[in-house]
Amino acid sequence: MPVPNSNAAFARKGSNVQKVPGAKSTKAATKKKDEEEAVETGTGWEEWSQGKALVRPPDQMELTEAELKEENTRILTANNPHAPQNIVRYSFKERSYKPINIVDQMAVHFVLEGNLVHQDSEEARKLGVKEGLAQEIATVDATAESEEEKAETSVNPAVDGGDVEEAGDEDRPDSAASRINKKEPKVTNQFNFSDRASQTLNNPMRDRICQTEPPPRSSFSATANQWEIYDAYVQELQKQEKNKEKQKGTHSHKDNGKSKKVMLMETQSEDVTKWTMASKILERTISQNTFDDIAQDFKYFEDASDEFREQEGTLLPLWKFQYDKAKTLSVTALCWNNKYQDLFAVGLGSYDFSRQGCGMLLFYSLKNPAFPEYIYPTSSGVMCLDIHVQYSHLVAVGFYNGCVAVYSLKEEGREPVYKSTAKTGKHTDPVWQVHWQSDDMDSNHNFYSVSSDGRVVSWTLVKNELVFTDIIRLTLTGAVSEGPKGAQAPSIASGTSFDFHKQIDYMFLVGTEEGKIHKCSKTYSSQFLETYDAHSMAVDTVKWNYFHPKVFVSCSSDWTVKIWDHTINTPMFVFDLQAAVGDVAWSPYSSTVFAAVTTDGTVHVFDLSVNKYEAICQQLVVDKKKTKLTHVEFNPIHPVIIVGDDRGYVTSFKLSPNLRKKPKAKKGHELPKGPEVEVAKMEKLLSLLREPDQNSG
């Protein structure tokens, strides 16, 4: 009890210069000092005189009244509080740890080694010897002698002669110690050591701490990859280029201005345009997932049953393409894109004379069957179209109202790039076929069109205009004249289809509504090179063979498909298909394979090298009574055909292996390849026919 009190009092006295302990209690804002009050009464008179305010040290512990009143007892014992009470030692005898009860309670507070030596102890003697050796110079002899003498004359003190010696001798009989004592005053402290101490006032230590505001920190982490390094280099390059541009001068300012505007525009809009590419890819990915099995079939399925069927093949239906707004229209034209072989164009219109409305031009990709890639609505029904072989963004279209137009897929608008009008020589009747030609001498693009008004017109794209040139006028030769005076007025035939020779540029065939096919030349505008009496009804399609330069096929609504050699007036092969034939197409991979579609919904595939009389595949692909097939086209590279019908649907089919037969290699010969083979194949067939012809004719 007294200890803390005194400490507290001391602390207070130390920290508070002004006040006196007792006074505070009376002033009594602080009840905490109650404890200490009782002790401090001696200096009471000071309180009243000074009346100073109670000041508590700021770091004094605050205690509640209860806490202040509680008594902390301290007991002083003889035990060392720091001594360990639970020492445990390992006992080898008992092979275990045993606690030791008796613990050394001695606490050493202070040790000071003394430097006093007892005079009789050995150390003292040694020290004395050392001191003696140290004083060799002055007193060595004397002491030695005296020591000897001491030894000798301890019995005979009168032997020595010197006074000193005598004096010393006198002392000799005394104890050695007295002798040493006599010498002690002479012996100075051999270390010349004296200890003097004084203590200066120690200044109280005080800590002063100063802390600056730490610099702002941010943690940074990065990885050093190949591409990070590459990006850094690219940025550097761009910076350098910008610097160069700035050096070039004012142009850069203008560009910056424009680019800033562009930036603003972008941020204002919802940046939806950025998504076009991404959303396209997305849609195609989803299509791939949705139509996964079809895609697999397209790529990998080969009808195994073809091995069992001798010659026949099948068509495996693949994707079906349809567009909502095209439901009322019929497919009037199909064309594959040469460059992007999954893209094809569909022309939609109507064959019905009475029901003529608007038309449409659609582009589909096999990768996205759900929705067309490009949509162009047209005011008049599309009757025919052709995609340029080299510039596959250019599409020539012929309309029901006789106009022709050229669309460019690169353009953003829905309008054709070029369009013919009444002034610029449009046809007066529906345009039944258009065909791109090679560029003319000025490298302008040009295409041909044929129409029921009897004209075959060449259109050239000169800058922004379509310039037309009548190539030929189709006339009805040998027609009955109806002129009043008997003069033969050649009436105009209606062209319904045409096709240009693959190799001989100037030669082309025109099929007419009367059923005749004329072989014409671009250079002769009034005369035909030859005329074939092909069909009894309008010739819907004529097509040159891709391989054999002499062969072409024609089809008509009179249910027949005929194959011709253009040097011979009569057809080589005639096939009756039991229904009006809408379209016929040669296959790009074989000179003897072709396909025909009929209005009863059947696709007929022929391979003349396999079977000269019958189709090797006759397949009903759509509902017989409802839909008529209007067009068919082979894909340039894939074994796929697309078939258009009069409901606006386009269906794709995969050709089974039997339909794609290549000639078998003869034993010992290499497998022949290339178009020569195809030509030879056809030639063989034709020669078989010709011989009987020649024989008969």
């Binding site: 990885t223 990859n225 190949q226 591409w227 390094i229 590459y230 990006d231 809009s269 919802e270 939806v272 345009t273 950025k274 998504w275 076009t276 991404a278 959303s279 396209k280 890819i281 997305l282 849609e283 990915t285 989803i286 997932n289 949705t290 759900a370 929705f371 953003e412």
Partner: protein, 94 residues
Amino acid sequence: MGEEVEAQMKRIEATKGVIGTLVVDPDGVPIRSTLDQSMTLQYAGQLRQLVILARSAVRDIDPQNDLSALRVRSKSNEIIVVTALVYIQSPSKV
């Protein structure tokens, strides 16, 4: 051009088997979504990391290359990410 893309997006969302679509800006904040809020945030957060990792992998091998699409097929779902677009589809066909 914007309307076409909008129409395309709507078509995609309406396709059978598509659970939802999600468009995320370059910072990872969802711009447009057909999923509910919690799913949106979850997909956005998780896929962002995956796309960064995939892109890093592609570009590390060839810095001039860049990631264009990423498809993650799982037992129940397929997630298709096309650079800026995140898209979720169920592979089941009805």
